[in-house]
Symmetry: C2
Subunit: 297 residues, 2 copies
């Protein structure tokens, strides 16, 4: 076969959402515009929708209710980088991926049902940060991370991120930063009220929060290192003991303090809250390294 039908499937699901919400197909061109695809693709989508009895012509509204089974499964629709990232995240958290292990391009590609070249590119990217090293052929070794490296990285993060807070409060009211910050705030409250400090959603949210701080302040170096920090933190959380959940909750509370200070445009309070937060994180990590439960070296 040739290239995958990822676009088609992704947009097919989007089309179902659109139709289920009462949307109508007015014209092929309009439909294509709505879904941000070429007419070629829009045309084949409509063809498929007709074949499945969801439409009766090239125009008009839904002909029957949409079932869950009409949708393509999520795994066939996500961006491959997203698939890869969350897969690796999972493996690390479940300790199925540790320093010294070997990973195989072909195996991962098969397992995740994505093209091998994407896996390769993903690993090449991470190898720039020293997390993986090409071993031979299509095999990659998970490299150990030294304490020094982690220490350096966290110091750096603290230094750069703290400096980036002040410019943030100066952003105009219309800047997209603010709504994004709000939505992250909402998510914090939501998580705290439901699953609490559950690792997986927390890690994701934590990453979103810090990414936002860096990207909004045009902190290019930290943007470059963001992916590295992301991975380090995952290795970190892996060592987490039983207090992990409590620690995550504590972190979210600290995030909220920073966020609220930002929303009130209180630069000083935001900065000191951030310093406190990053120090806590760093101390926790150092402590876990002093008394390691993993095989870091």
């Amino acid at each position: 076969m040739a290239r995958s039908q990822r676009t088609f499937r992704l947009k097919y699901n989007e089309a179902l959402d659109f139709l289920a919400a009462g949307g109508r197909v007015e014209s092929i061109s309009g439909f294509a515009r709505k879904l941000a695809v070429s007419r070629t693709t829009a045309r084949s989508l409509i063809q498929q929708l007709r074949k499945r009895g969801l439409l009766d012509s090239d125009q008009g509204p839904l002909q029957r209710p949409v079932h869950q089974s009409d949708y393509y499964p999520r795994s066939q629709v996500l961006e491959t980088t997203e698939i890869l990232r969350s897969a690796f995240m999972n493996w690390i958290i479940r300790e199925q991926l540790r320093p010294g292990h070997y990973v195989d391009e072909a195996q991962i590609a098969t397992q995740l049902q994505i093209p091998m070249s994407n896996v390769r590119e993903f690993l090449i990217g991470l190898s720039k940060f020293g997390f993986f090293r090409k071993h031979r052929g299509r095999e990659w070794r998970v490299e150990p991370i030294t304490r020094d490296f982690i220490g350096q990285m966290l110091n750096l993060r603290r230094m750069l991120e703290v400096n980036s807070v002040a410019p943030l409060v100066g952003l105009p009211h219309s800047d997209p930063f603010w709504p994004t910050l709000q939505s992250i705030r909402t998510r914090h409250v939501e998580l705290l009220q439901t699953v609490g400090g559950e690792t997986l959603p927390f890690v994701e949210l934590d990453n979103r929060f810090h990414s936002l701080l860096n990207s909004a302040s045009e902190n290019r170096i930290m943007q470059v290192l963001q992916e590295a920090v992301f991975f380090i933190f995952h290795f970190h959380y892996r060592w987490g003991s039983s207090e992990e959940k409590a620690r995550n909750e504590q972190a979210m509370v600290e995030h909220l303090q920073i966020i609220d200070a930002l929303i009130e445009r209180d630069s000083d309070r935001a900065t000191s809250a951030l310093i406190a937060h990053l120090s806590t994180a760093q101390n926790t990590l150092v402590a876990s390294l002093e008394n390691p439960s993993g095989d870091i070296r």
Copy 2:
């Protein structure tokens, strides 16, 4: 076609060196071991050597003198990453590659006579640092670098590198660091006495010097950022005015001071020399930014 014959050509040249130096082929296996290749490859090398009249059987010494024309040209033998790196270096220095330009994977691959996948991997790597961004398909855009970014990067470099000097003098006498340092020293003296501050060789040497400092001191973050700094400095040198050569010579003199202090295991003197050197570099750069001759923004 299938995969390239880079190994074959590289090893063929090595074999010529070996034979020209009076080496003899005792056995296929031994020959393979000597060249660190499989017997399959050794066999075809010997076959080729016989065809060219350099050997008369599967054993024995050289049958005729080796001419320069017997060797494969250097460009067909180098590691592709080396080819790529020096090609990009050249383009940047000659101002044939500037922010806003577009580069095309296929075109570069054809031009340099290397596989397209290698070009792609190289660009993916650099895109991690924000120097290139995938534009559409196989086209990449050269991204502008902001002054802030450069400033941050150089600050960072200074901070990390200065901290890494002290551990170096503690390295045991047997550490490979010392001979490498010696050879870099020799190269400095050699350059100063011949071409002086000629851009191309200087840049290469400068990079080797700083890489050594970072790798020997296990400064992982800086190792990660080394490639980025390398590129920044190239963009930097591009803006260089007529004093560029003098500036490079000055830098080499400063390098020598650092090197000599290290060789004498004088940590304090090495550190202060390094601080002075990095400050000079940073000041020069800042000055060139204040009064830009390029189109940095």
